[in-house]
Structure formats: structure tokens, C-alpha cells
Subunit: 369 residues, 2 copies
């Protein structure tokens, strides 16, 4: 089975024109196709949506957006959203919706290091405060703030500035036969990272300020992500006034009632050599397999990310200290590709069974507390 | 594994909007989508090519073809092609490119009934003679003739009448971004049958006279076809003049040097109750699984058959005694769907291992002759 799956990886990369680089290849070896101009709807559908092939469109596609010139300036957004309350996601380390050490790791002496799926502490603050907290975000200080809400927030909380970008992506809407289901805004700094996951949407991701760095794996490489069940937890804020200074400390608590989230076990950029060694030995299909496809999206550029592609995202701020991005989620077509994916996912391959243990064990410990 | 594959069958039919009928459902339960008018290129690409979903277009799409009125008349084609030599495929039973009993079945007393892959005897005759032989075709007389040649023959042998149909299918060419790789003409009577197979082309199949009856299975149902390796054979003609009458007798001979053809073992319409019982017990995944999708294409109608779909075709003649059809083969896109198909095909499921034995055994016997 493992040999058949590895052949699937190689053939799908080959057919997608993405090469099949060895783990130590450089980024250039497997690049996302680039277009200087937005594609026609027909070419987009035929060459990208139908085969499931990403596309990076140059800044020519968004040059007409007022946001392209207005949003990167220091004061425009804080003026326009002066009295607007927005959802700010707070974590100690910039890793929301990601695995974190289980707060109650169970039996002492257990060899496993159980993990949980940690969601951010979400707080509604006025936009200027949000920007101040984002700019000052630093894991060393114990708080990283990320303004985002995946609920069509550009047309909700940020409606006052939604007119600064196109309401939809015309060539994508015509190709896909629908308008976006959601348009989301994302504002953070270099410390916010999005862990490997996939979305059930066709995604057009546009960077307005700074850069986004994507690691991509096609859906055929599902097994390399070691998706496992993890118990859900969320950060809660403990507030304290010390020496006249207001301090927030974020603490992880298991959700009650318990909830299980299937999530990728792989952290492609672990923080220490020890963690890297542990990852590499636990998840060989990822670390010994073909390198992920790397794609940096610069200000003005748009990335078409096909539905069901796994992506890990980190970012660099622009001169304003912020990474600002807008994404358009279009309903995906559930077709024969989706049926094949579910079939693939239902199969176990030998190497996968050696994945991270202890997650559910930790959950049971939690329930027994 | 078998359970996962059966779930794939059900889910892909469900997502394609083709239902998942039980074996005894009527034809109406899983019908090919119909369109009164030809689709726009974008809708065709989005709703049919990309998801891999067939489409039947009404006769409105070909009403402007001169062939629609000219070809069904008795004398037009024989006049226009009076002195044209065409390729006529001769078999004793109308089953070219199909399994047939191995002419040298090996050890006496062997319980298996080895088969081979039998190709027609191809003869170049003038078109009026071809039509006479096709009209008189009858397995009872030992010869069935089918005018066809899958080598772009409409623009080759039949160039004199190629202008009677559109040179390509405009909405398909625009959607697929290319002109047809081949345009083929098919003229036969009710006795010619095409056995289950798939093509590496996107296919637009147009009936001009009579009707074509398709049995369809999506590529996800590969294992139900019991594709096995068979040694290749071809019919040769033995001519005899008896009592002033010229007679042709077709005899099957193994190809030399030997050649192996992977082909479906399943005959969905066996000729006798005994053969039906043998088929049903040898190929349970086909006979006990979901019913094939049935689609009759009537004169003037066009069937879009997505690449890699398995199809079995039988036919009924029009008032002129002939079934006449034209098909346009477009190069398919080898994309992630194709990679998934190859992966699926590489997997063995338990029930399949009980498939027809003896094919290769027969081949070895042949080589030892």
C-alpha cells in the first residue's frame, strides 16, 4: 500500500506540472505556476480549477484596488475604523488553531507527550487598539494578537473599508459560477502562523501589505500530514494589575464538554532542534517525502489555492509593521476528485500507524480529572 | 479494502448526481443529464468536463448538419462514396475487440475456459459493397460487417462526405482548448456490439441514423470490470466458391509474435442462460453491484462521454437498415483525476482475485504449440 501511495504522490505532482523534488531540493524546484495577467474564466477553469492546480497572479490583478495604495499607509485603516470593534485572536505564541502541549498531560512518567488542539482567546476591541496590540505582539511577552475572523468578516466587522477591494474576483466568479461565500480580512505580524490544514473552499488569497509564505501539499498527500484526533482546548485570559501595569496572561484550558478535532500532527517549522528531531522521527512520510511546494505571495499578488490542498502559512510584515491580506472563499464543487480523496483518506498505510500517540489518552485523563 | 472501494462507488455516483441504484433498479433511476440546447463552453467545462459527468444534448445541436437529412436516405452515401474504398471490419458474431474462446484451449480436461482478445478481419472494399455486406450481416450466416476505423477516418477514407457534419464541436473545442484529435465514422447494423472499454479521450458521440445504447460505468468502478491480461488473436478469412457462390468463413488465429491485451472480462449481455450464470458467478462485483448507467442516444443527439469512463455499446438501425454515428475524440487532460485512477487501479480488492483464470495459461499453451 505504501508503495502505491508514494507512486500517487509522484504521479500527481508530475501531472500537475509541479515536479517531484527530493526532500533537499530548493524551493525553485517545484514552483506554483505564475501569470502576469489574470486568466480568462475559461482558462482558469480548464487549467487550474478542473485539474486542481494552484496559480499565482501578479499584482496587475489588484492595481486598481483603492486598498492597494490606501491600506499600507500607517493611518488610513485606523482612521477609517477608529470606532469599529473587531475580533482579535490572542495566543501566547502566535499559534491559533494549532497543536499545543496538553495542559494536563496525564500520568507522570508516561513516555508520550500528549497534545491538544488549541484555539485562540477571542476578544472584541476597537480597531486602533487591535493594531497597537498586533504591532507589539511578541511571544517573549506572552501575547501575540491576530485580527481575523473567518465568518465573512470583511463584509461584516470591516464593512466600512470593504469597498476598498473588489467585492469578488470577476474571473473566478464567472469560472466557478457563483459569488464568494465569504470574504475575510487578516491582519497580523511575523509571529502569527497558521498550521497545516485544508479548506472545503476554492480560495483566492490576496496580500495587500507584507508577504505570506505558503507551504503547500496536494490533497493526494493526505497521509503525510498524519491527521489525528485531538481534544479541543482554548486559551483563557487571566488579567492582573502589577505596579500600575495591566497584564494579560493566557492559559490553556480543555473545552468542556469535551470535543475532538482531527488535525495534522506535523509542524514543518519546529522551534528547537529537539522538537525537530522528534517531529522527523514521528512523521517520516512528511519529513522524508517530497518537499512541500513553497510559494511566497507578495503585496498585490493573488494566490489561487484549490480546494482540499493542505497549506501552512507564515508571514512577514510590510513597512507598516503589518501583514494584511484578504481572501475570497468560493464554494467548492464536490465531484469525483472529492470522492477519490475520501477513498484515499479511508486507507491506512503502514508508516502512518506509527504517528503521534497519546492525544486521546490525554483527553481521557482530562475527563477523569 | 473492498468496503472502502464500495463506498467510493456510492459516493462518486452520488456526487455526480447519478444516484446509486441497486442492481435491480430500472434504467430511469440513474440517468445521464440531458440538455435541450448545447451548453456554453464555460458551463460544459464546469459542470461536465471538470467533474467528469456525462451529458446528453438534444438533436437541436445537430439540426443544421447536412448529414442530419442526407445520410439517413437510402442512396445519398452510396452515391457520394460510389468509388471510395473503406475499411470493413468482419467478425463471425459482431464482436470485434472483444473476448472470444481461445482457439487452442490447452490441456483437455482443464476446468477453465480460456479466452483471448479477438480483433476483426479488416478488408478494404468499395463503399456500396460495404453497405450491402453491413445490411446483410447476420451471425447466423457467420459474418457481421462493421464499417469503422478509429484513425480519424471521417477526414480520411470518408473525406468526400466529411463536410456534411461540423468539423468540430464548437462549444467542446472552446472548453477543452483544442480541436479534435480524431473524427471517426461508424456504420453497422444491430449485430455489431462494442465490449466494455475506456478511452484516453474526451468523447463527443453523435448518432446520425438509428440509435446507440450505452452502458456506462464511471472510472471509479474500475474493479467491477475485472480487467485481465488476454493473449491477442485476430480473425482471418477463408474463401471458398461452392456451387457458384462465393463464401467467406472467419477463423480465429493467435497473433504471432504473441501480444498481451489487458481487457475487461465482463460481458454484460451474454448470449445464453448458461453463459449468464458463469459470468454472474465469476464477476460478482459487476453483477451484484450498482446497475450500469444506461443511455440511449437517438438520431441527432450527442453524448459527451468523459475520458476514462467505461462504456459498452450496442445499436439499433434506422429505417435505412443502418446505424450511423460520428464521434469526436478530444485529447484528455491528464490531471489529478488520472493520478487517482491509476492509484485505484493499482490496488487489489479481495473479490477481484477470484476473477477469470486461464487467460495467460491459454497464452502459454499457445506459445508451446
Amino acid at each position: 500500500m505504501e508503495r502505491a501511495v508514494r507512486e500517487l504522490w509522484a504521479e500527481s505532482r508530475d501531472l500537475l506540472g509541479l515536479g517531484s523534488p527530493s526532500p533537499d531540493d530548493t524551493a525553485a524546484a517545484s514552483a506554483v505556476p505564475r501569470a502576469d495577467l489574470p486568466p480568462t474564466p475559461l482558462a482558469f477553469l480548464r487549467d487550474h480549477v478542473s485539474p486542481g492546480r494552484p496559480l499565482l497572479v501578479s499584482a496587475a490583478g489588484t492595481r486598481h484596488w483603492p486598498a492597494a495604495s490606501l491600506w499600507p499607509t500607517a493611518s488610513y485603516l485606523t482612521d477609517a475604523l477608529r470606532s469599529t470593534a473587531v475580533s482579535l485572536h490572542l495566543t501566547p505564541d502566535g499559534r491559533a488553531d494549532a497543536l499545543a502541549p496538553h495542559p494536563h498531560p496525564g500520568r507522570p512518567g508516561s513516555s508520550s507527550a500528549p497534545k491538544c488542539f488549541a484555539s485562540a482567546h477571542v476578544r472584541r476591541v476597537d480597531f486602533p487598539t487591535a493594531v497597537r496590540l498586533i504591532r507589539g505582539s511578541d511571544p517573549a511577552a506572552g501575547v501575540v494578537a491576530y485580527a481575523q475572523q473567518q465568518d465573512d468578516c470583511l463584509r461584516g466587522e470591516y464593512a466600512a473599508v470593504a469597498g476598498d477591494v473588489d467585492a469578488h474576483v470577476p474571473w473566478a466568479s464567472e469560472a466557478l459560477g457563483s459569488l464568494p461565500e465569504a470574504v475575510n480580512l487578516w491582519i497580523g505580524n511575523a509571529h502569527s502562523v497558521t498550521s497545516f490544514h485544508k479548506d472545503h473552499y476554492d480560495n483566492i488569497y490576496v496580500v495587500v501589505s507584507g508577504e505570506k509564505h505558503f507551504l503547500l501539499l496536494p490533497p493526494t498527500e493526505h497521509h503525510r500530514l498524519y491527521v489525528r484526533d485531538y481534544p479541543a482546548a482554548h486559551y483563557v485570559a487571566e488579567e492582573k494589575d502589577t505596579d500600575g501595569e495591566h497584564q494579560v496572561r493566557l492559559k490553556l484550558e480543555m473545552e468542556e464538554p469535551g470535543r475532538i478535532v482531527p488535525w495534522s500532527s506535523v509542524d514543518p517549522c519546529p522551534g528547537s532542534p529537539e522538537e525537530m528531531a522528534a517531529q522527523a522521527s514521528s512523521f517520516p512520510l512528511y519529513f522524508d517525502g517530497p518537499a512541500p511546494i513553497r510559494c511566497t505571495v507578495r503585496a498585490g499578488e493573488m494566490l489561487y489555492l484549490p480546494s482540499m490542498w493542505f497549506h501552512h502559512v507564515s508571514q512577514s510584515p510590510g513597512p507598516n509593521g503589518l501583514t494584511i491580506a484578504v481572501n475570497y472563499w468560493y464554494d467548492m464543487q464536490f465531484d469525483i476528485k472529492y470522492a477519490y480523496f475520501n477513498f484515499l483518506r479511508s486507507l491506512e498505510i503502514d508508516d502512518c500507524s506509527s504517528g503521534e500517540a497519546g492525544a486521546l489518552e490525554g483527553d481521557l485523563e482530562e475527563k477523569n480529572d
